[in-house]
């Protein structure tokens, strides 16, 4: 490999400058949705009100109402903690496991590292949905089984990332110096490697939350995740299917929320990456 040091860095793009604060705002709002939905949502997410069945968006019902006359905006607000909550849990669990696994693999090197990485490869080829089908079949449907199957699919990405970083960092002069001084592997890892790895992982985690959210909602859409009438976003889209021609708002708003949320996390992840770089 030609060892070339990176010299020029792309200058910061304008869109990011404007959009990062907006994205941050979106995330703050989402966190509020998740923590205190009762204070924000105007209505109950589950109580039926048949008189208002499938009403289009209005001031009373920002996102319109569903087949039970429930306020879709309120359902979306209350759904945040399910959809986003599970997505965050998946990414955190994967990052935790992946970091430990990757660090061990990277520090071990040699044949142990080789075997560990081959195991990681195994998971890359495994289609997430098929695994989710199998997991749902064995432990039952629900957000728990969604979280489990997506974590199984997700952690190898972190393991690979961290191992790569560890291999790179341990060749750095200051690490080599530390090793020459007889500092233990664990200490090297803790003091000289993990802090740098953490930056990479932070970026990845932020971006991944958006991806995980999309994956969680996809599984709910297929009927593997949350159960009705939990206002989980993917499930809202699934529930909206029979009313497609009669109530466009039922499909559009939950989908837009997923898109907005995922994009916001991507933007923040990008922004973190740029800050770390520049």
């Amino acid at each position: 490999m030609s060892a070339v040091l990176p010299t020029a860095r792309p200058r910061r793009s304008r869109p990011r400058g404007v959009l990062a604060p907006v994205a941050l705002l979106v995330i703050v709002i989402l966190i509020a949705f998740a923590l205190v939905p009762g204070l924000i949502a105007p209505d109950s997410p589950v109580a039926l009100n048949m008189a208002d069945r499938l009403k289009p968006p209005s001031f009373a019902h920002l996102f319109g109402t569903d087949e039970g006359g429930r306020d879709i905006f309120s359902r979306v607000v209350f759904g945040t903690r399910y959809s986003l909550g599970v997505a965050i849990a998946i990414v955190f669990a994967s990052a935790l496991f992946g970091v430990v696994y990757g660090a061990v693999s990277g520090m071990a090197r040699g044949s142990a590292d080789n075997v560990m990485m081959r195991i990681v490869d195994l998971f890359f080829g495994f289609p997430a949905l098929v695994l989710a089908l199998a997991v749902a079949a064995s432990i039952g449907r629900g957000l728990g089984s969604v979280a489990l199957s997506l974590t199984i699919i997700w952690w190898p990405g972190y393991a690979r990332l961290v191992r790569g970083e560890v291999l790179r960092l341990r060749e750095r002069p200051h690490v080599e110096a530390a090793r020459a001084l007889g500092v233990s592997n664990l200490t090297i890892l803790r003091r000289h490697i993990l802090p740098f790895v953490a930056q990479e992982v932070n970026v990845r985690v932020t971006t991944d939350i958006g991806y995980a959210l999309v994956a969680v909602t996809a599984l709910s859409f297929l009927g593997l995740g949350a159960n009705s009438p939990t206002p989980e976003w993917g499930l809202l889209i699934r529930d909206s299917r029979p009313y497609f021609g009669s109530a466009w708002w039922y499909l559009v708003f939950p989908g837009t929320m997923i898109m907005l949320t995922a994009t916001a996390f991507s933007l923040i992840g990008d922004s973190l990456a740029a800050r770390r770089g520049g």
């Binding site: 490999m1 030609s2 070339v4 040091l5 990176p6 010299t7 020029a8 860095r9 792309p10 200058r11 910061r12 793009s13 304008r14 869109p15 990011r16 959009l19 081959r118 490869d121 195994l122 890359f124 080829g125 495994f126 289609p127 997430a128 949905l129 098929v130 695994l131 089908l133 199998a134 997991v135 079949a137 064995s138 432990i139 699919i153 958006g210 991806y211 999309v214 909602t217 996809a218 859409f221 297929l222 993917g234 889209i237 497609f244 021609g245 466009w248 499909l251 989908g255 997923i258 898109m259 907005l260 949320t261 995922a262 994009t263 991507s266 933007l267 990008d270």
Partner: protein, 337 residues
């Protein structure tokens, strides 16, 4: 090199075996009874028991596993309870539909992704770059099933331009099945109208997959290109007075190809997942829909088969990449070391 490839191949077989074992056991821990589905409502317990015996469902799990593995070693993927045929026969029927969708999507994706990445990387940080980056970010955030429905709404329901689903115009006669790929079969039959019909039906599902892949792919390709551009040889080339376009196309692209390809192959797992969703939404008669429908009635074999087939695809693609890398990127020569 040959030695390395053999090792890789052996590993691939091992991976396939593991996948088969994992999915077999995961799917058998189910509480439901596929024989009850097969016997139908109102069937007596004796009838259900007879069917259970017929399909070997009454035997102990380990025994079922051994016979499944023995069958697998002979290329027998088991029996589908829902379709009452062998899974291999079903796969032969459904695989071409999925492959056709995948290949068309992937080709469009490669071209588009590459063009976008080059455009974005030409002036990193410029307005076009920023716009493309924002679009790709929004793109990764769109749930594929939602996008599919939105496209159906737009192009079928509102504009009446494209069909809602399936592979071929309903009222027209499909070309005789030769390869199972409708594009090729239409051409073989020399029927432009059949080809047109096929493309019309491919458009929305393919577009759905392409948009999602594009979003992820362009991010990765752009990063690879920009990193490549910042390398020393590019500066040298610039110093020699070569124009930026020449540098980009003659040097950077060539060298950036291998990281881009790596990133692309990593997306295979995603693609398979997307395909199941897209097939469900567009009633696309491929292996994704087949496995999903089978899953609904606890017909396990097709689900395991899908896992095996898609993992095999992944292993094959990686093997192919291992062979291609040294050709594409002369810097990578001693792969095995």
């Amino acid at each position: 090199m040959v030695n390395f490839l053999l090792k890789r191949f052996a590993w691939g077989i091992l991976v396939l075996l593991l996948v088969a074992v994992i999915t077999f056991f995961l799917s058998r821990v189910v509480p439901a009874d596929p024989a009850a589905f097969l016997a139908g409502q109102n069937a007596s317990e004796a009838t259900v028991q007879k069917i259970r015996a017929e399909y070997g469902l009454d035997r102990p799990l380990t025994e079922q596993f051994v016979s499944y593995m023995v069958g697998l070693s002979k290329g027998d993927l088991g029996q589908s309870i829902r379709t009452r045929r062998s899974v291999s026969t079903d796969l032969a029927q459904y695989l071409p539909a999925t492959l056709e969708l995948l290949l068309v999507s992937f080709t469009i994706y490669l071209i588009a992704s590459f063009s976008l990445a080059v455009t974005a990387a030409r002036h990193p940080g410029g307005f076009v770059d920023g716009a493309i980056r924002l679009l790709t970010m929004v793109g990764t955030g769109i749930p594929v099933f939602w996008l599919g429905m939105a496209l159906q709404f737009m192009f079928f329901y509102k504009l009446h331009w494209l069909p809602i689903g399936a592979r071929f115009p309903i009222r027209e006669t499909a070309p005789p099945v030769v390869t199972g790929f409708l594009i090729i079969d239409s051409m073989l039959a020399g029927s432009p109208s059949a080809l047109l019909g096929t493309l019309k039906h491919l458009a929305l599902p393919a577009l759905t997959i392409v948009i999602n892949l594009l979003a992820v792919g362009t991010r990765l390709s752009r990063a690879a290109l920009i990193q490549e551009q910042s390398r020393l040889y590019v500066r040298t080339a610039r110093g020699k007075g070569l124009g930026p376009r020449v540098i980009l196309y003659k040097h950077v692209l060539r060298n950036a190809l291998s990281p881009i390809l790596t990133a692309t192959t990593m997306q295979f797992g995603y693609m398979i997942s997307w395909v199941i969703l897209v097939e469900v939404i567009f009633d696309w008669p491929g292996i994704g829909l087949y496995a999903y429908q089978s899953f609904q009635v606890f017909d396990y074999s097709p689900v395991i088969a899908l896992a095996i087939v898609s993992t095999a695809g992944f292993v094959l693609i990686n093997l192919l990449m291992d062979i291609l890398y040294p050709i594409i990127d002369p810097r990578v020569q001693s792969v095995g070391s």
